[in-house]
């Protein structure tokens, strides 16, 4: 990916103060935009001030943030994961097949529900491992390696379900998408927990340092003794696990699983959130908080425009412009 960017020519003269202002703008620009959006809505959109509206916005954005968190880790190593939407479809197709067929183990009340969550997520993680093996053992470019499951993964889900929509009603299982402890949607709690853990991992663990080292300069990281292959496999597994979780949340909300639709286009939503959040696609830097902010910005712009009666199509065009603008403003943020 690095060669897609023009290599900077001679070092430009740097002036301390403007440079610092720009650095502040780059670091907090996305956050400032988000705050402005929230303020604007608080003042001009009466319905925004209700808890229901907050919950709605957060519910809609939760799956994107969960997937985008894994995507941030992958992108931080200099890779990309196009397969997340298909992995969501696979996990979403698998879960109803497990809990609605009265299989042994899965018909035991609590254990069955837990297994119906964990097994599909684990399967998605295994597919993530497949991606990671292609990238490390076979040294295939990430965009191609994950393109394979993007193409084939949804097909696996479609073949497994013969393309039929699986409708179900399983309150225990659907807790993952419908429960509201303390009035907060459970997927929002999951989202916040995952973001918090990932932010801590990136900031305070050796694994996080290794991820950034690989994205910054892979040969150097290898020479410095970083277990490059193992770390890379792990980020693809994490991306797969999180995609699987997102797939389960989607089907739990809908009470049905449609392998043709679950997670469709999610890879691009997630990448857009990561890019708007300020993580460069070249790797070596990552901001999990930024990804959360990026996803929220996209969500709020969309919902603000729609609530003002702007057609969905126009909202899409505006979001396209925002993505370009955000990446342009933050593009100097490289190591």
């Amino acid at each position: 990916m690095a060669k897609l960017d023009r290599v900077a020519g001679l070092p430009q003269r740097r002036f301390a103060l403007p440079e610092r202002f720009r650095a502040v703008g780059q670091t907090y620009g996305a956050l400032a935009v988000l705050l402005l959006l929230v303020l604007y809505n608080l003042v001009f959109t009466p319905s925004f001030r209700t808890l229901a509206a907050l919950n709605l916005n957060l519910t809609q954005v939760a799956t994107t943030v969960i997937v985008a968190t894994g995507m941030t880790l992958v992108i931080a190593t200099g890779g990309i994961d196009l397969s997340v939407g298909s992995l969501m479809a696979i996990a979403g197709a698998l879960a109803p097949m497990l809990f609605s067929r009265n299989l042994p183990l899965f018909n035991i009340p609590v254990l069955g529900t837990v297994l119906a969550w964990l097994v599909p997520i684990g399967v998605a993680g295994l597919f993530g491992l497949f991606n990671g093996m292609l990238v490390t053992t076979f040294r295939i470019q990430p965009i191609i390696a994950t393109l394979i499951l993007y193409v084939g993964g949804r097909g696996i889900a479609q073949v497994a379900t013969s393309g039929n929509i699986q409708n179900f009603k399983n309150p225990a299982f659907q807790v993952i998408g419908l429960a509201r402890p303390l009035g907060i949607p459970v997927q929002v709690i999951l989202m916040l927990v995952i973001v918090a853990i990932a932010a801590w991992v990136m900031r305070a663990t050796i694994f996080g340092r290794y991820v950034l080292a690989i994205g910054g300069n892979e040969p150097a990281a290898r020479l410095a003794g970083v277990p490059v292959a193992r770390i890379k496999r792990m980020v693809y597994v994490i991306s797969g696990l999180l995609a699987g979780l997102a797939g389960l949340i989607v089907i739990a909300i809908n009470s049905s699983s449609d392998a043709n639709r679950v997670g469709l286009g999610m890879e691009l939503d997630a990448i857009a959130a990561v890019a708007v959040g300020g993580t460069p696609l070249t790797g070596g830097r990552a901001t999990i908080g930024g990804t959360l902010i990026g996803a929220l910005i996209i969500q709020l712009i969309r919902s603000t425009l729609l609530s003002k009666g702007v057609p969905f199509a126009v909202a899409q065009i505006v979001i396209a412009g925002i993505i370009l603008l955000a990446v342009y403003v933050q593009r100097q943020r490289k190591v």
Partner: protein, 331 residues
């Protein structure tokens, strides 16, 4: 070193025989697979080698072929164009809306829009130095939004009296117009890549952009050119879509960009840029199309298509990678 075009890469150094076989397999592997599959199909299915089946195969794949051709040029410069599916959808809507004014106006406006979108992509990429992946991702959203807006969120019927649908129905000597466009585009594309300054510059930029810039090649202009080409060809594919389906469909073309990239990769063009050929992309498109064609003879559910395509992509990519690794070691 990476600027050496594929046609000479194998013979640059006298290599051991097995390395030469490996290099030939890597470059012509897709062609070999195509021939093998065609032979299997000919032996196994009645009517596989019929004019009807061949023409239908080409007609159906004309759209993907045109998009993959533009994508080949973009990828050879080291870039990528994710907006092609959305541009095709937008073009199909424009063509359908303008179909009452005749085929020339409709196709011209559609392709013109595609060219402009491609130019805009190229301008953003070169002027603002934003990665092609992000730029064209944003354009994917933007063009899809524009298509929905123009079509008022519904499919637009083509005016059948305006002569527009003739594009899909008629042809010369029994060859439908979409197939003629496909073949002409590939012949022209091959000539442009191999015999013009533009084509050489494309490969030079993909091989080493900084070196190309220092040598004084007009890097930005060439990039504008390849993105415009990609946008224009995607729009032409959209115009064909409107003619074949009698509708402009703002929601069509989902994932076409990745299918086109898959065809380019199966053909053997490296995503890192600098190496590639137009002919092998054609083979890649035919190969992916042929797989679907054979599945329809097998009466397998349509859902197997994507699984088998995925498995196929996996085999080709792993094989190519092993072979090119060997080649590098031998050189």
């Amino acid at each position: 070193m990476a600027t050496i075009p594929s046609s000479t890469a194998g013979s640059a150094t006298p290599a051991a025989p097995e390395a030469r076989i490996g290099s030939m397999l890597q470059r012509q592997g897709a062609l070999i697979a195509l021939v093998v599959l065609t032979c299997i199909g000919a032996l196994r299915y009645n009517g596989f080698i019929s004019t009807y089946n061949i023409v239908e195969l080409l007609r159906y794949n004309a759209m993907f072929g045109l998009i993959a051709l533009g994508m080949t040029f973009v990828i050879m410069t080291g870039g990528i164009d994710l907006s092609v599916g959305a541009v095709a959808a937008l073009a199909s809507v424009i063509a359908a809306l303008l179909s009452p004014y005749g085929a020339t106006v409709a196709v011209g406006a559609a392709v013109g829009t595609g060219l402009l979108i491609g130019l805009f992509n190229g301008w953003v990429i070169t002027r603002f130095n934003i990665a092609p992946f992000i730029t064209t991702l944003a354009m994917l959203l933007g063009a899809r939004g524009a298509a929905l807006l123009l079509a008022k969120n519904a499919a637009v019927s083509v005016d059948t009296a305006g002569g527009y649908v003739e594009i899909g129905l008629n042809g010369v000597l029994g060859i439908p117009f979409p197939v003629i466009m496909l073949l002409v585009a590939y012949v022209l594309g091959s000539i442009v890549l191999n015999y013009t300054r533009f084509g050489r510059h494309v490969l030079a930029i993909g091989g080493n952009e900084d070196a190309a810039r220092l040598m004084g090649l007009p890097v930005d202009r060439i990039k504008l050119g390849v993105y415009a080409l990609s946008g224009g060809l995607a729009a032409l594919a959209g115009a064909i879509l409107a003619a074949l389906t009698y509708t402009g469909i703002p929601t069509e073309g989902l994932g076409w960009e990745l299918t086109a990239i898959a065809a380019v990769v199966v053909g053997g063009t490296l995503l890192t840029g600098g190496i590639g050929s137009v002919g092998t992309t054609f083979v890649g498109v035919l190969l992916l199309g042929l797989i679907i064609n054979m599945l329809s003879f097998e009466n397998l559910s349509a859902y197997w298509q994507s699984v088998i395509r995925g498995v196929f992509l996996l085999l080709v990519v792993v094989l190519q990678n092993q072979l090119s690794g060997k080649r590098k070691a031998a050189a």
